[in-house]
């Protein structure tokens, strides 16, 4: 009896040891097949690549209408829920009323003094008071959200894009506390009842995870410009910050630009030409 139980114990322990041994190998192969920038490059020669992606927003070229189109294009393509959307009662019965403070947004309009609270100025040029300033993820070089995440669900790619794994996120919202730009949203509820028409190219999210702008990494991989760039009528340009010949660098060379909360040392990759 004693012998038998010991043998069965050893058997279980052995299986457990195999499991422990296999775990790192499995994680390795899993991360390998998920497609880093390079794997995509091998398959698709049209892929847009950069050493460090950056964005330049020419605020002079933006107006309310263009800004609204940009926001709409981004949110529609990424299945970002709109809490003003009328819920289809047949598909989603008994949907509870929304709390607009729990909204989700990837890119949105702010006034100058909110986008740049450290540059608040009594005697600010009149034109800035009426221009829409688009706020979004800055894909910081030293991203506080990447540091804060306890599961590496938020991570930084070699090309500078800060991405999220919606399936790994535990919803602790440490990244939201860490982000000095308010760029992150949490799914306080299932977002699907509030998506007008689901775009199948991009996954919808579940309740309980954080999300934010991904610089359209899925489009860059296919050689396409981000949605915001396409909808911006020339106001937004993305490109390689580390290539002196790139369009973004030429723009930064020729214009005075500002970044949000530069003093914090996060090194935002989004520049505003003013």
């Amino acid at each position: 009896m004693m012998e038998k139980s010991r043998r069965s114990f050893l058997k279980v322990a052995g299986i457990a040891a195999i499991g422990l041994g296999a775990a790192p190998a499995m994680t390795f192969s899993a991360s390998d097949s998920h497609g880093t920038a390079q794997a995509v490059k091998g398959k698709n020669h049209e892929t847009l690549t950069a050493h460090r992606w950056g964005m330049v927003i020419d605020t002079n070229k933006l107006n309310e209408e263009v800004a609204a189109n940009i926001v709409k294009a981004c949110h529609k393509a990424h299945n970002v829920p709109d809490f003003n959307h009328e819920v289809d009662e047949d598909k989603f019965p008994n949907t509870r009323p929304v709390n607009h403070k729990q909204e989700v947004k990837w890119i949105w309009e702010e006034e100058f003094h909110n986008a740049f609270p450290d540059k608040e100025d009594e005697f600010l040029a009149e034109k800035f008071k009426h221009l829409p300033f688009l706020a979004t993820c800055n894909h910081c070089k030293n991203a506080p959200c990447v540091k804060a995440c306890p599961t590496q669900a938020t991570f930084k790619r070699a090309d500078g894009i800060v991405l999220m794994d919606f399936h790994r996120c535990i919803g602790c919202r440490f990244c939201m506390a860490a982000c000095p730009y308010g760029s992150r949203s949490f799914n306080f509820r299932d977002p699907r009842p509030f998506i007008g028409e689901v775009v199948p190219e991009f996954p919808t999210r579940t309740k309980g995870v954080v999300e934010k702008c991904n610089l359209c990494a899925e489009r860059l991989a296919r050689g396409k410009q981000p949605h915001c760039v396409e909808a911006s009528e020339g106001a937004i340009v993305v490109g390689d910050l580390e290539d002196p010949e790139s369009e973004v660098r030429v723009l930064l060379n020729e214009n005075y630009s500002i970044r949000r909360k530069q003093a914090l040392g996060t090194e935002p990759s989004v520049y505003y030409v003013v």
Binding site: R96, N99, Q102, A135, P144, P150, I170, C172, R173, G182
Partner: protein, 385 residues
């Protein structure tokens, strides 16, 4: 030893049933939250942490406060604390379990929580918080249990408990320091971005923990035959007194730096908490009540005559405990999020369901505390009798 908890008076069982009822009601509220998401709470895009994390932070402090009986007894052989040391350790156990529960109920995807272990991230402060909280919990369970068991058998506790006891001291400091580091290392949150945050957390912890312990001593004297000792309670009261004064002093330092330097991103939060900001002032009456409670409590404890007053002492301790809860629980977390990094003001108040879940976690903690304290006091009665 656990069988002791199964024998009790009618009142004991009534209390247990009451706690179970609160736990049940909270569990129902949690099921709703689990099914529908954190939309059931008052949290928002701007105030992304609320009541759960606030109570977590406060209770980490109460747990760490237990070390204020461990240090005098084990490091300085302060004999008067002999009888209450175990109470401090068991209080830490109950508080830490509540802390872990508060973290779990705050998660958007609780079923994925083991990702923290599967993908350990040494750059994240939450990783270290998990290590020290679980470590301190483990240490206190082992130490408390072994020492009590030895007392019951009237033998010396095993020698290997000694190094664990010494280890538990830096762990106690560690849990609250790392908890402060969760907040004070974030670049965009002016209210938390201060080196005095960890010392301030520790000071208010060393007040709130022992203050609660004194109140518990009163309950023990009322409901059991075990006497924790008036002298021990008086020493504890002095510890509470100086710790809360240190907390208030750190707060004054913080106010001076913030208001004298006048840097808006740091000032806005304290303005919101103390005076209101752009017409929003939900927390102003709370914050002032908190500071008045802490200050009055400190005055009552520093004057020997008032401290020695057996009726006043638990009231002074309750004032300090509640004051510290408002300061740390209510103000500290909301205060850091209001105004938002974009200087929008979104106020926060917990919803009924959020409060229900919170109460249930407190009830769970009290249940654990009741059982552990019953073991401790019964064993001590047995030994003396």
């Amino acid at each position: 030893m656990l069988e002791i908890a199964l024998k009790g008076s009618k009142n004991y069982w009534l209390w247990i049933v009451l706690l179970l009822a609160v736990m049940g009601a909270g569990a129902l509220a949690y099921v709703d939250q689990f099914m529908n998401g954190l939309m059931t709470t008052g949290m928002s895009r701007d105030v992304s942490w609320g009541f759960y994390i606030a109570n977590f932070t406060f209770l980490v402090g109460v747990a760490a406060g237990g070390v204020m009986v461990v240090i005098p007894y084990y490091l300085h052989d302060y004999e008067r604390f002999h009888r209450i040391t175990i109470l401090g350790e068991f209080l830490a156990v109950a508080c830490l379990i509540m802390c872990l529960l508060f973290i779990v109920v705050d998660l958007g995807q609780p079923t994925r929580m083991l990702n923290v272990l599967l993908y350990p991230s040494p750059k994240s402060m939450l990783f270290y918080d998990m290590l020290v909280l679980n470590g301190y919990l483990f240490l206190n369970i082992v130490i408390g249990w072994k020492v009590l068991e030895a007392e019951r058998n009237q033998v010396e506790p095993p020698a290997w408990t000694k190094p664990l006891i010494y280890l538990s001291i830096p762990f106690a400091i560690g849990i609250h320091t790392v908890t402060a580091y969760l907040y004070c290392g974030l670049p965009g949150r002016g209210y938390w971005l201060t080196a005095v945050l960890a010392p301030r957390f520790l000071a208010s912890a060393f007040a709130a923990g022992p203050a609660f312990l004194i109140i518990l001593c009163y309950f023990i004297r009322k409901f059991t035959k075990f006497d924790p000792g008036w002298d021990a309670m008086q020493t504890l009261a002095k510890i509470v007194c100086w710790a809360i004064i240190a907390n208030l002093f750190f707060f004054v330092c913080e106010c001076f730096v913030v208001f004298y330097s006048g840097i808006p991103s740091h000032m806005a939060h304290l303005q919101y908490l103390l005076f209101g900001y752009h017409g929003y002032h939900a927390l102003v009456p709370w914050m002032w009540s908190g500071f008045i409670l802490m200050t009055l409590g400190a005055v009552f404890l520093i004057i020997p005559k008032l401290r020695n007053n057996k009726t006043l002492l638990p009231i002074s301790c309750a004032m300090i405990f509640i004051g510290a809860w408002i300061d740390k629980g209510l103000g500290m977390i909301s205060g850091g999020f209001v105004p938002s990094p974009l200087h929008h003001v979104t106020e926060y108040a917990p919803t009924g369901k959020e409060i229900m879940v919170t109460l249930a976690i407190y009830a769970t903690g009290l249940l654990i505390l009741t059982v552990l304290f019953k073991l401790a006091t019964t064993v001590k009665e047995e030994v003396r009798g």
